[in-house]
Symmetry: C2
């Protein structure tokens, strides 16, 4: 009896956590689903509670130590600083690595604007680190179909944005020999395995289930109802026969925690189709400039630092909009110190200032009142300006030809 | 403002008929949806009532006369005999023809068994007649995705059956220069326009609507919920850019009346995407050998005459299983005559005996009692045996190469 036989006729799947718990538990201050993230607290989402609610595991010292041991190098600062704070089955991936068995990376982006912002880079930065550390193939999905369904976007427009965003992703320095980038609205029509696996997945999931997991209702369009299968399907390695042949290879998905519902669903379906459950590593949200009550959003110009912003714009946005954890007066600040938990300039440094010692210095200076609000803002500006400028330089070099190469169906180079 | 702009944000579509009315009106004896057809009456479905319930138009003498005038030749016997009894916008198609404007034909089949039965040929026979009469391109969809979702069928198995069924269809004599045959599980991965148009359609239809039209429920799998868009999409000519470029060409769909719900839905969506509403011509159901209370079904061996049956099997099935409208004794039959309305051998002749005069002779003889039940069965056997034998001969000539040619993406030959 094959895995597919097992599937036929089975309608109910048991979710890892009760789906009703997922978005917002009663009496909770935080709301998290793939489309909305809000918190009533200035410090943002309570991530420890989220781990409990989602039923994932904490990225703790033990797994970081194991990661360093297996990789033979220090963990990336996004790991060290708890920004990637939660995981599922990361130990399984490390065991595979120890046993010299293959796995691959899968991450993605929903292209809803021409320009990505700083927060969008976070999953790609850690993905690149994992790829370089473990020398594994990587597939990057651009969900232009999702954006066409959810946003007021024409198919052609969503596809154009997907290509623009792909150039920003490539500018991070991914290795074309090991990386395949695809947009759903394009790739679906170039590889029959994608739709075939989607049908296999869509045969395992009822409306009741996506209702519970994603909060869909009767007045939602049928495209939305079917879409979760499109985000799930890259976890099945046979979706990419030109890379994996018909081998069923384990995958690791770095993503922000709001994407977890898709993969909880996928982890239920995968074994029924004979695939390993995808492993996950989840990041916290990148805060809006206005503070951690919401995440940085491309649809609000003032909430975000875009990868197309000029040094002047970056300076002005941080000075004008970045929520401060400083005190009302200099005197008070000197006496009591600032609050790094809610201070957005400090949070930006935590994501983007690589030097641990310098960051710790800043933390101490700011929270004791030695460093003023204007000074930490200046530091954030000076840290981000060159990062964005460098990015813009590299992005200019990404031609349509290079993009087409990343998006072409081909073998990837890995052992 | 483009057609797509009109779509965005609109959730409700006004159906041509109240969807609740569709499957079974209260107090009615007939049940009709794409998966089930049953009637409490021996004479089968009341088709006049169905026309009223579905809101379609009767194929009456006036439209047949116009069809003969425009085509310059007599109507096919399946039209003359009221087997294609209902239509939507057939007048529009005839007007296009008069104005020398293009249209195309679209029909299909859900491949759920290796062998097709006689009833499956009916839409293809009339489609071939329309194609030859009007010299227009034809696309034939094999919904192997649907069968994989609804039946206990693996993806590979459904795709294999699609190819087997396509050979039977080709054996009817379609012109490869004017005909494109495709299976969804294959074509979706070979032509990006298909998925792009599906997303455009799926963005216009809510779960509430497919619930009303098809009777889907919360425990149905999401593949089923999304599928109607896959059957709708060939009505949009841009799904086949290699045939139509980006022209939005009107289409005519010959099909059995149970498929109408898909196209009622499509007719609501098409104008919102800038396409003409598909025109339709509907056939009655091909009766099961056991009688017109249900339709011939490939899943019940004894209900169907398969295209693979031997002359002996055909004879034995008709003699053994074909429901008779004859009387209990010869004496009674001679005195009162048989009932052609419920007599399956007579119905088979009505579908497959081309000679009108001979059919009328048989009808008179049988209903006056001059012809006995055994005699009309013999006539049915003798009519069907050579049709099936000839079909088998032609099917043997359909090689994989010929099939691949029909299924290859290419320009079709039409003016």
């Amino acid at each position: 009896m094959s895995a597919e036989d097992v599937v036929n006729g089975i309608e109910a799947i048991s979710l890892e956590k009760n789906p009703e718990d997922v978005c917002q538990a009663e009496g909770e201050d935080d709301y998290v689903d793939p489309w909305t993230v809000t918190s009533k607290s200035d410090a943002g989402i309570d991530y420890d509670k989220l781990i409990k609610r989602f039923g994932s595991s904490k990225v703790d010292d033990e797994i970081l130590a194991r990661l360093e041991k297996v990789s033979g190098k220090p963990c990336h600062h996004l790991l060290r600083r708890g920004i990637f704070f939660s995981h599922r089955d990361l130990h399984t991936i490390l065991t595979l690595k120890e046993q010299n068995k293959p796995f691959f990376l899968y991450t993605g982006r929903g292209p809803s604007s021409d320009s990505m912002h700083l927060g969008h880079l976070v999953p790609f930065i850690i993905t690149k680190w994992f790829q370089e550390t473990f020398d594994v193939p990587l597939v990057i999905q651009l969900t232009d179909d999702e954006k066409s369904l959810w946003k007021d976007l024409k198919v052609e427009e969503a596809m154009r944005m997907a290509r623009e965003n792909a150039k920003d992703i490539i500018a991070l320095g991914f290795d074309v020999r090991k990386t395949f980038i695809f947009s759903n609205l394009d790739f679906m029509g170039r590889c029959p395995a994608m739709y075939q696996n989607i049908i296999r997945i869509q045969r395992c999931i009822t409306f009741n289930q996506v209702k519970g997991i994603f909060g869909f209702g009767d007045s939602d369009v049928i495209g939305k109802i079917g879409f979760p299968a499109a985000q799930a399907v890259p976890c099945m390695s046979t979706t990419f026969p030109f890379i994996f042949g018909n081998r069923k290879v384990q995958c690791l998905v770095p993503c922000a925690i709001d994407q977890d519902p898709y993969f909880r669903m996928t982890r239920d379906v995968a074994p029924r189709l004979g695939f390993p459950k995808p492993a996950l590593i989840h990041s916290t949200f990148f805060p809006a400039l206005q503070g951690a009550k919401s995440k940085m959003s491309a649809s609000d110009q003032n909430s975000a630092i875009f990868l197309t912003d000029t040094p002047k714009q970056i300076k002005s946005k941080i000075n004008k909009h970045a929520f401060s954890g400083g005190r009302d007066t200099v005197e008070e600040h000197r006496a009591l110190g600032g609050n790094t938990d809610v201070d957005v300039p400090y949070q930006l440094l935590k994501f983007f200032l690589e030097d641990d010692a310098e960051l710790e210095q800043i933390r101490v200076a700011y929270s004791t009142g030695a460093m003023l609000s204007g000074e930490i803002k200046k530091k954030a500006v000076e840290t981000l300006q060159p990062i964005v400028e460098e990015h813009q330089k590299r992005r200019k070099l990404v031609t349509d030809e290079i993009l087409n190469e990343f998006m072409s169906l081909r073998k990837l180079d890995f052992s």
